[in-house]
Subunit: 667 residues, 2 copies
């Protein structure tokens, strides 16, 4: 706390006002945006950066930097203003002037990858705080491996009422409290205002009591009393639990006629109110101009960060763990993984196990987790069903974070966001399991991961009516389509153990695309029977069984329905019909193959898609009028899996019949 | 409490054991299912039914019955056992023997509509408790309108650890506490066990403290001490707040070697353990046989319910409010609504307002809410953006439940589940708003509503990149496709004010299909310019502008892209190309039209789909190789809407160019 003695509070007031003015001016220029939160939280953010946060704009990826997450992402101008004031070289005043304009780094909400200093994309409420939990966990897991010399940083979050009303916040808070993530400090912008009006229109939860119930250290302060804020952050850092600091603020602080009301939340203040705010704040400077002394004060924050980074670099260079540390943060060893998977696949091609692909996934993970030391598995309380825990994976617990397996609890959404945070933090490759039907619960975080391009693997088992008796609530029928709809997401539905291993290899070596693995509950025969050097799954779709002579029909299937396609081809062969079988484990990878290759795989003969899902999403493969589809058209039912396949007509016989019809129709 | 004096506890023990034995035997017969929860909660459930719940198997839809929700839906055998014991005529022992088999009412999880006494479908965790909040709210809203004589019942929930770990539980609990839903009593099966093992693997939240923080009355009891359970329920009923009763139980109670462990959660006990349990419970009877005295005791519960219903019927028949009460519960007056919408549409066709469809929706709601007295609106804190509140709609508050508008707070998922509950309760037609991008948050509850077939309207505004500056986190690109993928869900994307009004009419008069209305933020020109008696939106897709002479191309669009299609047709007309324009506001309605009608609408000329979404889902309309699509292929960006439409090439010029290419290609 010796830093506090030398704080010039009048300068700190001006530092905070710089944020306020930049926010209101940028929103005014854009005629769009949210001035309320940046103006209200300017004091808190200024204290946080001025007195605590260690970042260095000269190296925005410095591994031991503190993480700052603006969970209330609509207050993006707070982030951009601070990045500008700290001197990030990609956040010149031109960017603030172009707030919310096409091509600017200053998007409406902070977008990861658009500008330095943005640790995660926020905007959909509740995501930031939950992602930050993953960062704070990853920090402690790295600390457990490398000690304080190399890993010793904090994760700070600013969140609003919306973040705390969203359900995902409960999952994140409960998890963080259980894991005792003392490096996580959440500053709640307790302004009592939401878009519809006062928060008491819709909530009366005592948030500090709620956080305390989940094992958090809680405090409440006046968010405009900077000494109180600093003292609270200091106390929070001394406590072993994660901390909530409720900061009572006035939304839009500084705008004399609008502050404290929902009018200031999400609309420009207008020229008149901005002029009045300038008078009120004692800020005579024109828009987008920051006096040099204020800028100098902000740059001293960066200088402190630069010093810390220098000292850290010295420690790293002197550390016997340097190589190991750098390896953890580097891209996974793709060659080693390829060789390991190749060897594993060769053995599978010989053994030809008839197993569920969820079991095949477990077998692949035995290889993967032995080869890559920084994978971190987990499940939303379905470990034995998702088969996500390979041998010897110890659990990550509050008292021992050396482990590599996370019990996420019954929190699919939180798990997905926490995995995003682990991946964003760096050091680990997270994967986690649940049932495919519950991808709906995780969906907002899966989408955000796809938008950011973070390498996370979602293991989704029980991927069709093949799960049987649990019935339609648990049976995915539209989920594969709905996931294929998300841009920059690879959806794998492997047919056997070899394809499953290949999918794992691709997923873990794709640095900027998350993956979903859709895996069966039920046993499936081996279909990849030849050892080969090539990862055929990487082609997205390939000819699994070619015809002798011209094709009469091509049967295209995925996952558990490959068995049906092969059975149909056998039936057709008896009838003298030449049916090729194409396995299509990843539509997204197939979609980017050259047209000629795609046409060669799919063939000119009538095509039939077979998948125990709805047809939607298949139009890239069976888009001609003479093509057909065997699959689901509505919800499933509760019964043993074989009965369901017969009931819904997803059988080799049906596919063979349809093939004959289409062949006749084409003649 | 005078009931308690005459309880025969030894008989009540046997009544509870009847549940236990039926559960373990049915799971064993099915070789699949979850015996742990029914056996653990048998005492609590028996007390609840034996001493409190008023239901009458002779009329499972009696409006003033108590509602019972098994939120821990995997414990479905508890529900089926009780329904059998109470004497529901569709739950004979044959159904219990056929547990989890094809065609049985006894699905793996309780399915609404499959059997009497199932108030809502449960299974996806957290949904039951949240749906129950809607039921409890609807009860008080009906009570506010009709008084205690006609509406005076309770909503009881059994939930497990999973329900309380899911994020949606926070949204429901916070909302219920705020609304002081004293008629809601949640019995938490506090057994300390989840699938992965002990709950302390993943949570350490003090649940009673957590509920108390949200304004609930909380108690904790031994869930096998029936007098304590009864006393707690009694106290809960006396308190004005919603109540949580933490019932400490032993999962699988009665199975001597497996109880209290996660082994008993989700697998058959096996013959040996079942035999041991029979000895342990003093239950010598064979499987699926209930001694008459025990059955008689259970039937006395039903008799008490029948008496209550008789008394209620007498009160109803004597009530001056009888007609009004019955009207609230009846299907909406479709004729009155049709006439009102027709008159509204005629005025719109004359006025031709250029407005956003979200604004058009507000105008339609002015008509709808004046015509139908039991619509209940709301928004997840975006009232002014979703335009969901028509004039004079008072808010539903803890102290005044006469209102018709609900501030759901920033709780999209909870809102959707609560709306399901309101609809299931009966008396009201709920609709609620959020941004379309956040349909991802609501998705599990939207899906459950579709599976159940409950009439709920999801108002989803800001339906494309047309929302502009908020950027890709807020811009739906795959959401329309992902919603179209859900079976039994109507997705409307109306083009102007007339189509918006028509969509409202259809949505509110579809008794067993929920709807999503995708509405624009930006203004759109009127395109339905002729007053007509027919609701054209009901056709799903129709020819908005026909050509003179044979079509050269057909432009098919939805919502905001109709303007672009018309613009393209104008450009093409100048070039001498005859382009028809088809408006397709609801793919699901179009899909069920006769083939000939579909072909006539879509035409034989090349077709171009235009929608500011991804192509997925359009394959029913533009299925042929010569067809084309103008839309999105990835995430959006932050910029003013017109700049985004140009940037992503969703323009009349682009569509016209593509039309010319396709026409050339076809020659």
């Amino acid at each position: 706390m010796n830093q506090m003695a030398r704080i010039d509070t009048s300068m700190e007031t001006q530092m905070a006002n710089a944020i306020r003015v930049l926010a209101m001016d940028a929103v005014e220029a854009a005629k769009s945006g949210h001035p309320g939160a940046p103006m209200g939280m300017a004091d808190v953010a200024t204290v946080l950066f001025n007195r605590f946060i260690r970042v260095d704009p000269a190296d925005d990826k410095w591994p031991d930097r503190d993480r700052f997450v603006m969970s209330a992402g609509h207050g993006s101008m707070l982030v951009y203003a601070i990045s500008h004031l700290l001197g990030y070289d990609d956040m010149g005043m031109d960017q603030l002037r172009a707030f919310r304009q096409l091509g600017a780094r200053t998007a409406g909400h902070p977008e990861y990858g658009h500008a330095k200093g943005i640790e995660t994309t926020t905007g959909p409420l509740g995501q930031g705080i939950s992602t930050a939990v993953g960062m704070a966990l990853a920090e402690r897991m790295m600390n457990a491996r490398f000690g304080n010399d190399l890993v010793d940083h904090w994760t700070y979050v600013i969140c609003g009422d919306g973040c705390l009303m969203e359900g995902i916040s409960h999952e994140a808070i409960d998890f963080a409290g259980h894991q005792q993530l003392g490096r996580l400090i959440v500053l709640w912008d307790d302004n009592g205002i939401t878009i519809d009006g006062d928060t008491d229109l819709s909530t009366s939860t005592d948030q500090t009591a709620r956080f305390a119930a989940s094992g958090w250290h809680v405090q409440a302060v006046d968010g405009h009393d900077r000494e109180a804020v600093a003292e609270a952050i200091g106390k929070a850092r001394e406590d072993a639990r994660p901390s909530l600091i409720a900061c009572k603020t006035v939304i839009g602080f500084g705008a004399p006629n609008k502050q404290g009301s929902h009018d200031v939340h999400g609309a420009p203040l207008g020229a008149e109110e901005i002029a009045a705010a300038r008078v009120n704040l004692g800020w005579p400077h024109p828009p987008f101009e920051i006096p040099q002394d204020i800028l100098t004060s902000w740059r001293s924050v960066s200088a402190r960060g630069a010093e810390a980074r220098s000292a850290w670099l010295e420690r790293l260079n002197a550390s016997p763990d340097k190589a190991r540390f750098n390896a953890m943060l580097a891209a996974p060893d793709a060659v080693a993984l390829r060789d390991a998977i190749r060897s594993h696949s060769a053995k599978l091609a010989a053994d030809r196990p008839k197993i569920a692909t969820r079991k095949a996934s477990e077998m692949a993970l035995e290889v993967v987790n032995a080869t890559l030391k920084n994978t971190v598995g987990g499940s939303a309380d379905l470990t034995g069903s998702n088969n996500t825990r390979s041998k010897g994976m110890a659990a990550v617990t509050p008292t021992d974070r050396q482990g590599r397996y996370i019990h996420y609890g019954i929190r699919e959404h939180g798990m997905a966001a926490i995995m995003n945070g682990i991946a964003l933090h760096g050091g680990f490759l997270p994967y986690g399991g649940t049932f495919l039907a519950f991808s709906d619960y995780s969906r907002p975080a899966i989408r955000l991961g796809a938008l950011m391009g973070v390498p996370v693997v979602h293991v989704m088992t029980h991927d069709s009516i093949g799960l049987g008796e649990d019935g339609p609530t648990h049976q995915p029928v539209e989920h594969v389509a709905a996931l294929r709809a998300i841009p920059n997401l690879m959806v794998f539905r492997p047919a056997d153990a070899v394809e499953t291993a290949e999918a794992w290899e691709i997923a873990l070596t794709s640095p900027s695309t998350p993956s979903v693995l859709c895996l069966s509950r039920q046993n499936l025969p081996a279909v990849r029977l030849e050892p080969g050097d090539e990862n055929l799954t990487r082609q997205g779709a390939y000819v699994l069984r070619e015809t002798t002579g011209a094709r009469d029909v091509t049967l295209i299937a995925t996952g558990s329905e490959i068995e049906i396609a092969l059975g149909a081809a056998d039936l057709l062969a008896v009838q003298g019909v030449r049916a090729a079988v194409v396995s299509a484990p990843c539509f997204e990878l197939f979609a980017v193959r050259p047209d000629a290759e795609r046409e060669a795989v799919l063939g000119r003969a009538p095509r039939i898609g077979i998948e125990a899902q709805i047809r939607q999403g298949w139009d890239g493969l069976i888009l001609r009028p003479g093509d057909g589809f065997v699959g689901m058209t509505g919800f499933g039912a509760s019964a043993p899996a074989p009965a369901l396949y017969r009931h819904f007509g997803i059988t080799a016989e049906r596919a063979a019949d349809l093939a004959n019809q289409l062949i006749q129709g084409g003649k």
